[in-house]
Symmetry: C2
Subunit: 480 residues, 2 copies
Amino acid sequence: MPESPITPRAQDFAAWYQDVVIEGDMAEPAEIVKGCMVIKANGYAVWERIQREFDDRFKATGHQNLYFPLLIPQSFLQKEAEHVEGFSPELAVVTVAGGKQLEEPYVIRPTSETIIGHFFSKWIQSWRDLPVLVNQWANIIRWELRTRMFLRTTEFLWQEGHTAHANHEEAVEEVLRILDIYAEVAEDIMAMPVIKGVKTQAEKFAGALRSYSIEAMMQNGLALQAGTSHDLGQNFGKAFNVQFQSKEGQLDYVWQTSWGVSTRLIGGVIMSHSDDKGLVLPPKLAPTKAVLVPIYRKDDERGRVLEAAHRIAKDVGAKVDDREGQSPGAKFFHWERLGVPVVLELGPRDLASNNIVLKRRDTGVKEPLPQAELATRLPAALAQMQTGLYSRALARMKSNTVLASSIGEVESILRDVTAEKGGGQFVMAHLKDDPACDARMKEFKATIRNIPLVDHFDGPGKCIVTGEPVDRRVVIAKAY
Amino acid sequence: MPESPITPRAQDFAAWYQDVVIEGDMAEPAEIVKGCMVIKANGYAVWERIQREFDDRFKATGHQNLYFPLLIPQSFLQKEAEHVEGFSPELAVVTVAGGKQLEEPYVIRPTSETIIGHFFSKWIQSWRDLPVLVNQWANIIRWELRTRMFLRTTEFLWQEGHTAHANHEEAVEEVLRILDIYAEVAEDIMAMPVIKGVKTQAEKFAGALRSYSIEAMMQNGLALQAGTSHDLGQNFGKAFNVQFQSKEGQLDYVWQTSWGVSTRLIGGVIMSHSDDKGLVLPPKLAPTKAVLVPIYRKDDERGRVLEAAHRIAKDVGAKVDDREGQSPGAKFFHWERLGVPVVLELGPRDLASNNIVLKRRDTGVKEPLPQAELATRLPAALAQMQTGLYSRALARMKSNTVLASSIGEVESILRDVTAEKGGGQFVMAHLKDDPACDARMKEFKATIRNIPLVDHFDGPGKCIVTGEPVDRRVVIAKAY
């Protein structure tokens, strides 16, 4: 057996992740463009699946897709004070175009609240124009210092939803509706359990009143912010003068929301389920759900096996790997590393016994079964794998979630955790939503991930930093 | 009847086009970003339909979607001499990022041959790695002086295919395979007849051996280059050192192709079929194929009409416009301007007689028919409209195609043609593929659109500029 091209998780989790990404044909670093990657065929196919799942749900809840310019006049960023402060260090700036120095530079969108605010002010005059519910699938540039494929790259692909409402209540409903969609796709399709919650004031989006997030736990125990939904209040409405006449005839600023998920989700899926053999994709997300590898040694077996392989595969919607010049063993490794949920094997002996062998990617278990049962057993295996991956990830998250009742305790749990060595936990502690508390966590490189919307622990308590009473425990972790 | 917001074609074709685009919720100018537009909901929905049609065909012919970085090191553009000369004047350049002046600026991709050439050189070593067949859906920036929504904008959306082959023959096969796909979608889905041909050397893509195009005729008789497919030869292979070991063990440069269609196609569809009432979309392309407008005057009619409307609409897959506070007349104008192929009307009298009224967008003819027949008559009407739009566009192209046998004749036919006034024709004349002949056409602002792959005229003749013998007539026209 050839040596695995994949570093074991236990040895170096970060190296393992990079190996899985590359061997899984998901992405490769584009070292010639700082912090960028090429999204390869398997990675882009997964992104197309993710897009489909979200896009269908956005449309079903009344959102329409639009497309706004990539370039934003630099002055637009400056109209919302917190926004410019948050994004300025990360901007890529176009200063020359068409052979000339530009009078006003453009920034490449780091997010589109500002330019969309500009258009909302043109489109919205009356309560009759509300709500406005738009979404955009686009590329984004944020000049990041430390990058990691999918998880944090200078350029990434995402969707950004932007909505305007007549009052705060409707805006908050929208924010939570989207957070639910994010959690549903993360859990049901990606088999990645998440904690829905509100970010602290120190961690909110630059320009928002309140940011909500879904937080997932990777196999090394680090947290991944997998999606955010922002209650922007009237901040951008005021910055871009988006006013409307209310039903009562009064002029008011709109209440806005924005929300996004990105190619970062792909990194989350990879780090949730993959193993030392390579990528593992949940069946509902996998672009290819099953591949049949025909096995034959002699030329006279070839025709019979291939004929049966294509017939059986067609019946169950599997792909046949009939490439010549590749051994069955090489094919097994190939599909294993690409994360295909089920590989079927069919050889001359199977033909003789009317059997076929089904191998699940997650358990590695090979099971011979009658060909006649495949049409029911394959979907059942895929459904079991989907449930199994979710349960396993949920159990891991639960067993790596601990309570702490002092700052020293939090620090000692998280002190030695790194992305490479792992050992991360979600530490649940009572902490006030106060920048001083966030700053205290930063001292040992942890963050308050969010304040869960639902309390699954012991209710109110005293903040372990300030001693003040707080509603419930927050999630503290080291994070990507 | 309110005054139409749409300028009649006969009065000013360019103003008509802009009005149709805006009133059809297709796009609006983004005046704050030079030469850009916002693609609005109806326009983006059409783009999603176009993407689906092409993407399915690309995948069925073995292509995979990947995603490459938006930013390209400036030095990459300079590696292919013709390429840099062609694109330099149109580049947008990022000189500052992350708060610092960059040592080497990046250009925003005007097309991706160079950065993809870089990766091909990493991925391709042997004939076993070939062919490589990739496609990318992406945004592009080219700093254009004169812009027009969809037809020519600073930023546009497109797909760009990039392939590498072991020999020239296979590359040419690919170029023509894609040209056929482009023509098929243009004609079968967009109902827009096209002429497939090869561009002259003067008009080819910067860096190609040969460029092929599909050319369509707009209602004002101007030509629109609707898609291009390039035989790149070994030019980029040599510039980026993409070498492979052949079956015979020799080192050779790959033969590459690239090909693209863009949001420009949407402009082509609009200018092919729309009328003075607004947008007309071919049924196969229309995001919404039929809308049912319920008609009722009194409250006691409302419930019965709406119940029947939803029941009937559900059966035939139509959308019900049950908005309150909008008159049926306002709804008819609304859907007319959005280009919905069929509008159904249902009122109390129709209910009593078990009829429904079907109105086709292209002909404007209203036809009452038994509700029981709608399930067969609606698809039939859509199919007839699809065929009708194509036939009408084809007849228009034929009747506006003329032969010319002298340069004076070509000039007199095209002299007074403008995008505003129209009167354009396709002038078929014998012309040599020689930059001197292209230059002669430029004197009266016309261009050789392409040399058709199939000669539908009188075979060989003498070039009307040089007098030399040439194979067949070329297409000369004023163009977007």
